[in-house]
Amino acid sequence: MSKGQVSTRKLVKAGLSDEIIQKLVQHKLTDYADILSLTTFELYTKLQVDIFTVREIIKKVSHATVSPLQNLNTLWEIQKNKDYEYLPTTLSTLDQYLMGGIPAASVTELVSQSGMGKTQFCLMLSLLATLPKSLKGLDGSVIYYDTEGSFNVERLVQIARTKFSDYYQSEEHRNQSISRIQIVRTTKSSEIVASLEKLEGVIIENNVKLIILDSVGSMARNEFSSENFIERSNVLVKLASLLKSHSERFRIPVMVTNQVMEKMDPFSKKSHITPALGPVWAHSVNNRLILETSYGNKRKITIAKSPISPVVSFPYHIREDGIAVGDPDVPQSDVEVELNPDNYWNQQIFAQSV
């Protein structure tokens, strides 16, 4: 095949006749997506063949596009023999409700106002992903997209030293963990999209076991004004789709952080805090965790969206070794779990009074 010649491999694979392939190539329809994005009528007009033949073409191309359905019993057998399908967070209550930890093969969003510990949560997860399996880690690398410059190496080392003091006594262990965390600094969504599109090779070569994007909320709101709603939606959907694709293909967890915005109820004229980026983004993530204030100066984590957990909240606090479950003033064994808090359903986050 000479350079510049179009590949007809896919069309041949679909079982189309030479005559039809010739016509398709003439109209630059060489990929399944090209053909399936046209309506029956558009194809009929372009190819100048009868409608039955058009339907045949669509059928053959559709069959070539899809893979076979998977029977759940077979899927279960396959997954029984697999490794961790989650990243344990060491937050016992959270791991309990999420049936292990941050789930693999899905995108988990972490939402909160600033100063609630989002980035520290991400630093902790990054460390955990690099730990050996004996310490319940994933023994792999981390790709950390940092859009706000909030990645803090000092804090990372502090968490490592205090949380896993024995393991990180060894300088070799410290260096190994830290060198496995790859930080990508950027403020542009286009750069992140481009990076994600080419990330497969990196994931394979570096045994990447966790991808973090901190923060999609601030990046999207800085880059797109409120008039560019459609453009913003498209970028967000594209980002979510790429992240999901990598998480599913390699069965790794993906964490994305988001900020909050104020929303006014048109009828009561009262405003409340809600996750930023609206319903389009809310539908795009598989799991949503919210860090919010509780009574007094206390804080709580809410599992707000999860296919396997009910909506629950429980207290957390920040200490030297990162995030921990519970109220520091109450013994560890008494973690109070609140089921189905109403505020989430009104899309409302408990906010610190301004």
Binding site: Y32, H63, N71, N73, Q79, K244, P266, K305, W345
Partner: protein
Amino acid sequence: HHHHLHHYSMNSLHSLGLSQPIEQKLTNAGFQTVEDFNGMTPVQLAKEISISNEEALKILKIILKEDDSHNLLKPIDAKTLLEQWTKKVPIITFSPELDEMLGGGVMSGEITEFCGMPGIGKTQLGMQLAVSCTMPEFFDGLGGESIYLDTEGSFVLERMIEIAESTVAHIQALEPVNEESREEHKRLVGEYTLESVLSKIHIYRIHDIIEQSAILHVLYDIIQANPKIKLVVLDSIAFHMRHDLDNQAKGRIISAMSENLCQLAQTFSIAIVVMNQMTTKMTTSGGIETTSLVPALGDRWSPSNRILLSWKNGTRTAEMRHSSSRPQSIVSYCVNTEGIRGV
């Protein structure tokens, strides 16, 4: 498709058992081969050889060897429709109030849409229905298989297993109705295991709108090859719809999907359940611009039944927004470790 015309000699016309006078009339009018009857309608033939319309129709049917109306739409009488409708077995949600609102459960031959905000439990409902569909007919289920189309990656096998196990436990807890059915009851209960339920549910992960389009085209062949399939869950329909398409392009895609799904529901008499998300809609009324949440895909998408899922006063509610056969109403239901249940 063309009729397969057979070449008859006059002898063959004779062997068709037509009466002598008729045969004579045909011969006199010059009818020798079957091609001579091409394009003839019963009324034309009747006029040409002076016979009644009914007789002409009979002749044409015999000669053309097929019922000419096989290519045309066959009407179905309302009585048959009623019989079919009363025989329909609904797919239950396990919430008695929700099932009642749906007319017993999700019905075959129809498209039922559940829409709501993220996290309200659409996937939970989809998974429960996929399992309910597999319950044996003996236990008022459909004894069928389900196809689950996952567009968002929200399907989690562990949760499906949880729901399936609870349904299996429910079946196992049932008592035989009478002595005669005891044997069969025990046998069917023994057969209804977690593995057998899972083997009856098929999943497909849809990654983009092209794949969605492709799988809907292919579903026809899949379901035709496996008549045990009684339910298709599409979770969710609007997720891959691109936002930058103009309304015309969007409209065409939606119409094509709608047509595809309707055809599947009716041709194979299966239940199609579609999950839909909410989207913001700007409306100006009285000079004030307000945003409201409406089901995605707009007016071009109009399922037979539309149920809105939301959270009101501390419970999950389902509201029948519009239906071709059910009245508007609103009920409460809950989601727990077993799946969907009543309050």
